[in-house]
Symmetry: C2
Subunit: 459 residues, 2 copies
């Protein structure tokens, strides 16, 4: 009889466990159904992309985006919506940027270029000089000052097509853009032309941040990106005509820092309000397109996490916050300020999740977590596999939430399919048209589901 009792108790326990599992599965099914049929992400992104547009830190559009984000979050009936002040850099593209390959008097070919973010202008009349093509800094150094002085350095290392994860291909090439000018200036170059960090051959120049490091002002040289087709053309023409000249004219400019804001909306936890779960994307974008993928998608997905929880009348146990970070692209001031204030206030972030890899079909999440935390996370993967979330990997999570890194907080990044991302990244082609509604919504649903699981189970 004792044994029978034990079996009955075990069955009841198992039944309770199964009932709980079923309850979570049902909740996640509702999240997905709501996201795909009544989500706000797509219409929000339509507005942010098409009615506001590109929103570089310090710009008028960035201010409009802040106002819009605040109003939309307020419309959700959250417990708290605030603007968190932060000083941000201000760089302005100016009124023109153009370039041509000059092979002789009156024999020129225009090529698509754009100034890199942070670059100085050319002299008002433009800058014309011969071109030295290199693939990397080693080649630059081996050529030395004699070969480089007075010339443009043309960095033409393509993204390696054989990498499966395009972010790895990006990491393998982006130093041309970020440090290329500073390096070339040390050898007396007059300017740099950088092959766009784009896996496709097309006509869009891709901007992005660059830095002069501690190079004195008087040694700084202008830096521009050239489209991949333009780079191929310039390279092939250099092979035929090594002494051809390149003409570049741009009037971008750096200004002193200006005040701006992170936008924060919050549902206060009902049981553990001091435990904070943050989801976010960055509200600023580059100025060439409308920043739909980078990172309008992450912004509206993060907002939709709160919207979907409210819509389901789900009252989280823990505090759930959406943060629209300012200035990821050229300073990371918003992410740093958020982490600084969190530390000062002694806030306990148990989880922070960023979406900043485009609005494409989600494939999984990437985590910065201890072995114990990662083990726990992996017990949740079966809840998401029915929704084509197949990967819980370990790795770098996201730039804006990076400053929250400590030994306790689990950091996470949404990982959408990466194949198309660098077709649009920082280019005029990053527009709302390149967004697929369902793919965007599946990302919002995956994020909401993960937040739900963290809220239910904690760490």
């Amino acid at each position: 009889m004792k044994r029978h009792k034990l079996i009955v108790v075990l069955c009841l326990l198992l039944g309770a466990v199964h009932a709980q599992e079923a309850q979570h599965s049902v909740a996640i099914a509702r999240i997905y159904e709501n996201a795909l049929t009544q989500g706000n992400a797509y219409s929000w992104l339509d507005h942010l992309s098409n009615k506001i547009g590109g929103r570089l830190s310090g710009s008028y559009n960035a201010e409009r985006a802040i106002e819009w984000g605040k109003e939309e979050l307020e419309g959700l009936g959250l417990d708290r919506v605030i603007l968190q002040p932060v000083m941000v850099p201000k760089w302005v593209r100016g009124t023109f940027e153009y370039a041509r390959i000059v092979t002789g008097p009156g024999t020129t070919i225009n090529v698509p270029v754009c100034a890199l973010g942070g670059s100085i202008a050319t002299p008002a009349a433009g800058l014309q000089a011969q071109v030295v093509e290199v693939k990397n800094f080693e080649e630059l150094e081996s050529l030395g000052r004699a070969a480089i002085e007075g010339k443009f350095v043309f960095y033409n290392r393509p993204m390696p097509a054989e990498k499966i994860n395009t972010f790895e291909a990006y990491s393998a090439t982006v130093n041309q853009r970020t440090q290329g000018a500073a390096k070339a200036a040390q050898f007396g170059a007059v300017g740099v032309i950088v092959r766009s960090v784009n896996l496709r051959l097309d006509d869009f120049p891709h901007t992005g941040s660059m830095s002069y490091g501690d190079l004195p002002n008087k040694l700084r040289i202008p830096a521009a990106a050239i489209s991949t087709n333009g780079a191929e053309l310039l390279s092939s023409m250099l092979a035929l005509t090594p002494k051809l000249q390149f003409f570049l004219k741009q009037n971008c400019r750096n200004y002193p820092e200006v005040p701006s804001f992170n936008v924060i909306g919050e549902i206060t936890g009902s049981e553990f309000p001091e435990e904070i779960i943050t989801v976010g994307g960055h509200l600023d974008s580059w100025d060439l397109g409308d920043g739909a993928h980078d990172d309008g998608a992450g912004v509206v997905q993060s907002m939709d996490v709160l919207h979907l929880l409210k819509k389901m009348n789900y009252r989280p146990k823990r505090t759930v916050r959406a943060v629209l970070f300012m200035n990821e692209e050229n300073g990371l001031k918003g992410g740093r300020e958020y982490a600084k204030q969190a530390k000062e206030k002694g806030e306990e972030h148990i989880f922070a999740l960023e979406s900043d890899a485009g609005g494409f079909t989600p494939r999984g999440f990437i985590f910065e977590a201890s072995p114990q935390q990662y083990e726990k996370l992996n017990t949740w993967l079966p809840y998401l596999r029915p929704y084509m979330i197949d990967r819980f990997d370990l790795g770098g999570s996201g730039a804006d939430i990076g400053p929250l890194r400590n030994n306790r907080t689990v950091l996470a990044g949404l990982r959408p399919d990466s194949q198309r991302y660098f077709d649009y990244h920082h280019a005029a082609s990053d527009t709302f048209k390149a967004i697929n509604k369902r793919e965007l919504e599946l990302g919002a649903a995956a994020m909401t589901s993960l937040v739900y699981l963290v809220d239910q189970f904690g760490f």
Copy 2:
């Protein structure tokens, strides 16, 4: 000492196993690198889409595609390239198809329509009648002849957005298109207007096959698809003006069957030439777009399997065949003929793989296999996980290889991400522009890798 010996032997064995595993990993890495840097799939698809275009069975373009496929396969230096004769249906869209909503004399709104494949024409002067909107066959039946006779039936059941796999959403709605006319004709309808099987709201009508079943010729009625935006408009106008009329005019036509071909290229196996591994896609396409996703992608990926194996100087142990099937869209005559001849010749297909779900990022494969075969397949998944192939599922493989089904042959389908597929499916938007080079190439690489593993291990 005996024990030491055993350990040494075990270590050697383990070492051999590891060396073999490493050899397969290296081979697959080479396949991917070649596919992404020197694959032919993208340039082949450019030609097939842009230089040949839509290629419906029995059309001039279908003949051109057959010639092209044969020549390109011959250029690969295969052991055998043949054309396999097959009779196929011939349906022609005709020279016009248009429609308008008529709310009063001279008060009309044009809406985008296209004839469904297999439909008869309207009378030469067009067809005008009132409209009865239904969501499904049950509603049609409950309305009955009194409500339907002399009118258009407008099938307006949307694809269910909450399905994660869009092919499930397709299955849940496509019977409106395939059987809608035959059903409505039984109640005296004069024609059917079918909401396009598309998850997006846009202006493209999507064609596709329909059948009158055994309905006598004199009872057959014209069938057209209307764009999703057009369907929304018609539905909202019907709510306001139930007696509005719809005008449809189309002059499509069915012809007797005509001769055509499957195109087959083969590398003969060096050890087990009688064991055949077939990969394929279908060469015919609908006529509105250029059929880049459906199924130009599958065609060029299958051709690239042979190209990549040749390029690596890989001599398969088993016979590897690429089959470009004719007439998947409106008859499946090519697939049936291929299987029939295989059976007649006593060919032993150990594996058949089809790519017919678009040229998007591959997520995995789907198999029709015995439990033992599936267990073996799953031991290979670790070779493909580094390439973001995450799923080996069980389920329906592909239409063209379906006729090969028996209790021995493993059937498989490439499973790309499905979210964007029905945006393009059977519509004028299914063009080369909608193809991403890397996504297409990753599919070819995944297929080649799977074929390599089947060739190495057999079943």
